[in-house]
């Protein structure tokens, strides 16, 4: 391509560029905002689908068991970690960050473990470690023997304060 034709192409490109609307953050058309929202919406939908698909494939509803941790007040116990054993086998050891403990104290519930179990009787042991009243190291366990039927099984490990004794309490609760 000779110089003349190069310059002609460049000129055409510059003219085309000049025709393009100069969008700034304030003047972009409303449809642009709509397109961005649609795109973000598509990302969210895809993420939700993947999340649900993953759960369905890895933990089918018939065999699924999930263990949650919640906290009520938590003045007498600063949670450090939870160890979970299912039928004598450790299935998780979870160490908490300050942010996670704060989220639990505000009313959040953590899904600590998700797995699969056959129908029948099973034993769940949770061992909580942390700092108890008067700054002493604290280690307590809670046990639940439950009957797994066909269908999902949810178990909640709840840490609460026993005001009368000024001690923490640890409950295990089955959910349908």
């Amino acid at each position: 391509m000779n110089h003349l034709s190069q310059r002609a192409v460049l000129t055409v490109l510059l003219v085309m560029l000049a025709q393009l609307p100069a969008w700034s953050a304030d003047t972009r058309p409303a449809s642009f905002d709509g397109e961005v929202q649609d795109l973000k919406g598509a990302v969210l939908d895809l993420n939700r689908e993947l999340f649900m698909l993953e759960e369905e494939l890895l933990y089918p509803a018939n065999t699924q068991v999930a263990v949650f941790v919640s906290m009520d007040v938590g003045e007498f116990f600063a949670l450090d970690s939870v160890q979970l054993k299912l039928d004598g086998k450790p299935v998780t050891n979870y160490l908490y960050t300050e942010r996670e403990v704060a989220a639990l104290q505000r009313g959040g519930v953590q899904q600590l473990f998700t797995g699969n179990l056959k129908t029948g009787e099973h034993e769940l042991v949770a061992i909580f470690t942390g700092v108890g009243p008067h700054g002493r190291d604290y280690r307590r366990g809670a046990t639940l023997t439950f009957d797994k039927q066909i269908g999902t099984k949810f178990v909640e490990l709840k840490i609460s304060d026993k005001l009368s004794k000024r001690q923490p309490e640890f409950y295990v609760r089955e959910w349908e």
Binding site: Q37, G41, L44, F68, A103, Q105, R106, G107, G108
Partner: protein, 281 residues
């Protein structure tokens, strides 16, 4: 010399304003009162699980999990709260249209004053984020007084920000003057108002707002950082007004361990250096 300081003042004030606004945008967080604050007992574990992520400011995960839980019918006991949370999360993710649709539907379907107030609050917030300030004011004015404390502080902050965006600074001043609370949201609003007034050459009023933020008593690292920023902006405003001694007193309040220490030390140094130059001549 002071002309140069004046240039730096404008630059510092511009940078701190940008910082504060960036924080507000980044923190476009939903600001829902905690389940504990509102005395809600979790009846759906999966709703609590969403809150667990939300309270850690992991909004994207919270949103994904809430959408999944909602589709699986696992948040039925907290239907209204879940819808409010979903709308708020959509809002923080820039999905203003979806958020507005949810809040409008809630307003149509419920007569619960708590839910209605929160819906109006979020509709106003969505409009504010889209720059529809007068319509945002209209929505905020529909909030009847059933908001939890944390949202109330954010409401006043948004109202003040909206007024400022419309250059209605006097009304913003009145709104913030009537607020006794020093909650983080209001501190940010006061800071922004102070900076805006100084930039409008309404020095005395702006300085009063900045001074209030600059005297905050707090252990919160975020608010301590804001306090330093306010003292820095106030100090440089004093320098611009050629009030070296007042500037020094204010700039000395800036923490020596923070990111603003160098600028504050520079500000303290300018009037001392100027005095030395004048004395030498």
């Amino acid at each position: 010399m002071f002309r140069r300081t004046g240039f730096r003042t404008a630059s510092v004030i511009r940078s701190v304003t940008a910082w504060a606004f960036a924080w507000l945008v980044a923190c476009g967080c939903v600001g829902t009162a905690t389940a504990k604050e509102r005395g809600i007992e979790i009846q759906d574990l999966h709703y609590g699980e969403v809150l667990f992520h939300f309270y850690q400011h992991d909004e994207f995960t919270a949103l994904t999990h809430l959408l999944a839980a909602r589709q699986a019918g696992r948040v039925t006991h907290h239907a209204n709260d879940a819808e409010l949370l979903l709308g708020g999360l959509y809002l923080s993710y820039g999905q203003t249209e979806k958020a507005t649709r949810i809040f409008t539907r809630l307003l149509d379907e419920t007569s619960d004053p708590d839910v209605r107030d929160r819906a109006w609050f979020f509709i106003g917030k969505a409009r504010y984020q889209r720059g529809l300030y007068t319509r945002a004011d209209e929505a905020f004015s529909r909030v009847a007084g059933h908001l939890p404390a944390s949202l109330r502080a954010e409401l006043h902050m948004l109202q003040a920000q909206s007024l400022m965006a419309q250059s209605r600074f006097d009304e913003a001043v009145v709104l913030l003057e009537n607020e006794d609370s020093d909650r983080a949201w209001l501190a940010y609003a006061r800071f922004n108002l102070g900076v805006a007034l100084v930039r409008l050459d309404r020095q005395a009023e702006g300085m009063r707002q900045l001074d209030r933020v600059g005297r905050l008593k707090t252990d919160d690292p975020e608010l301590r950082a804001l306090r330093d920023k306010a003292n820095l902006a106030l100090g440089f405003a004093h320098l611009q007004a050629r009030e070296g001694e007042q500037a020094r007193a204010v700039l000395e309040r800036v923490s020596l361990n923070g990111p603003n220490a160098n600028k504050a030390l520079l500000g303290v140094g300018w009037p001392m250096y100027c005095r030395k130059i004048i004395a030498a001549h």
